[in-house]
């Protein structure tokens, strides 16, 4: 069960190892020896990461210039990129993906709401903290299937609608309804994590600030706006960035079990489209090109977001 990947990186080990020998024979100093130990202790992790992450990134860039189904391949230059930018389907999917972003403000608001309430250390707050975090340890497939079962045509939500005298809704046959159900699942699944991060920021606030504010006669809202929000700006930034990243890269599990991208392509997200292109249409080249474009988009978004939020901080 030796890793072929490890064998592949073998040669690069040679010179460094020889170098180690030489310094030993010339009685290297204690620091020299420490350096060597540090290097060799890091080596296993580095070899794994180099062969399973660094190398594949380069390979992905190379594949994106090929027309390939994984068996035969032909170099076609930038054609994959040109095709993707020209494809109406990709534009539609990108816009769909933007719709899923509506989950983020709700997640942050719910997370902030619960975090601020828990911060008052009401009776049982530790229990609530675990309860709200509970969905975060569940698999996307569990949450997705739960929501799909709840919203199917003859599922519990529709039977509740019927008993209220309303007509049942076929949620997964209508584009915006299907998106709404996925968004609900995202909110239900995600707010506990946001709460946990924000609560850790709240816990770090110096309580003397509140005492001082009280002496100055500041009310609860004033304390909220002028002490709490500025103090947890970093955590708010982190939560909004991580959720944006998540919306563009990690909806696969939800889409896969809830809608499989349908009806038609109306709930297909960018990351699901990569999967479809590569493993349903067997167009690995276009799949890779799309993945790289997505990476470009989210990298830009992340940098812009962290810049914007940091500038705010300086004000």
């Amino acid at each position: 069960m030796t890793s072929p990947a490890v064998v592949e990186v073998g040669p690069s080990r040679g010179p460094t190892f020889a170098g180690g020998r030489k310094s030993r024979s010339s009685r290297g100093s204690l620091t020299r020896q420490k350096q060597r130990i540090g290097f060799f202790a890091t080596l296993p992790a580095f070899i794994v990461v180099a062969s399973l992450l660094f190398y594949p990134i380069g390979y992905a860039i190379w594949i994106s210039f090929l027309k390939t189904d994984g068996v035969t391949s032909k170099f076609i230059g930038f054609k994959n990129y040109v095709d993707i930018f020209a494809a109406p389907l990709v534009h539609q999917v990108f816009l769909t993906n933007l719709k899923f972003l509506v989950a983020i403000p709700v997640v942050i608001f719910a997370g902030l709401f619960t975090a601020v309430l828990l911060y008052q250390e009401v009776w049982g707050w530790r229990f609530f903290r675990i309860v709200f975090f509970l969905p975060s340890v569940l698999s996307a497939s569990v949450i997705g299937l739960m929501f799909r079962s709840a919203f199917t045509l003859n599922g519990p939500i529709n039977s509740a609608l019927i008993s209220l005298g309303l007509t049942p809704i076929n949620f997964f046959a209508r584009a915006n309804m299907a998106i709404l159900v996925v968004v609900l699942a995202l909110i239900w699944a995600g707010f506990g994590y946001a709460m946990m991060i924000l609560l850790s920021g709240l816990m770090a606030i110096d309580t003397d600030l509140f005492a001082a504010a009280e002496v100055d006669g500041a009310g609860w809202w004033q304390r909220f706006w002028y002490i709490i929000i500025p103090s947890i700006r970093q955590q708010l930034a982190f939560v909004s960035i991580i959720n944006t990243l998540y919306t563009f890269t990690s909806l696969f599990g939800f889409i896969f079990v809830m809608t499989a991208g349908g009806p038609l392509y109306s709930t297909t997200t960018l990351d699901y489209l990569v999967y479809q292109k590569a493993f349903s249409a067997y167009d690995m080249g276009q799949g890779s090109a799309l993945a790289i474009i997505i990476f470009g988009v989210i990298a830009t978004l992340t940098i812009a977001q962290s810049k914007y939020l940091r500038n705010d901080d300086g004000r």
Partner: protein
Amino acid sequence: MRKFKWRTNTIVLLALLSVAITTLYPLFYVVMTSSRTLEDYNKNAYGLPKFFTLDSYRILINNYSLDTAARNTIIVVGLSLATSLIFSSLAGFALAKYDFPGSKAINWSFIAVMLLPSQILIIPIYLLLSKFSLVGHLPGLMFVYIGTNIPFGVFFLKATFSAVPDTILDAARIDGAGFFTSFFRIAVPNAAAGITTLAVLQFLGMWNELLYAYLILPDQEMRLLTPALASIGGRYTTNQPLVAAALCITATPTLILLAMSSKYLVRGVPTGTGSS
């Protein structure tokens, strides 16, 4: 002070309770559904079942070879987790306490790949594994899990080991302790809480993972639990008790782990994922 008066306190408690109900009720509903018969479910989906039955679980376990899936999951998650933890703690300790030329560059390269989305990697890793005919075999998935978990592991444990005081390590070195003695006798015991937190986080990540598990082990008889139960849940939409039982089996280990290790998660989630 940050404490409210008792009347506000009651309102806060009620608000929290209502949020807790929206979180807990769906789970309660799934557990109830999984333990009733299909006829009972069709008659009355809400309310308590007329009688409790484990039939759906029995059907799942007998008909869908979940024992193989469970065995495969234990092998893959166990070995990947152990390897990832060992490699990450060695590297994390070295990067925290044993500076060497290039150690900063290695550290930054780990942080950079940590942010990489999985869909960039999925195609090249799939092609790479299929080149070595590892697609369809457990070691293939193990390589992926070990590789994708190490960067965050090193990042997390470097921070953990940095907190171990240099004075203890120096004292040990003067007493003649080498790298491994310092590592096993001093660093690891001092960082035990951090390592446990990381183990819990990475276990959850591997247990819940769907994309790689589904693609790299496509054969029905090689499936891990989460994808196996997801595909059962996806196919039998008319038999809700069966779907609910599949969900319960997938979710139970993670919920038990949460209950047992909430202390570590509460501390680890914010420190691990940024806030820095």
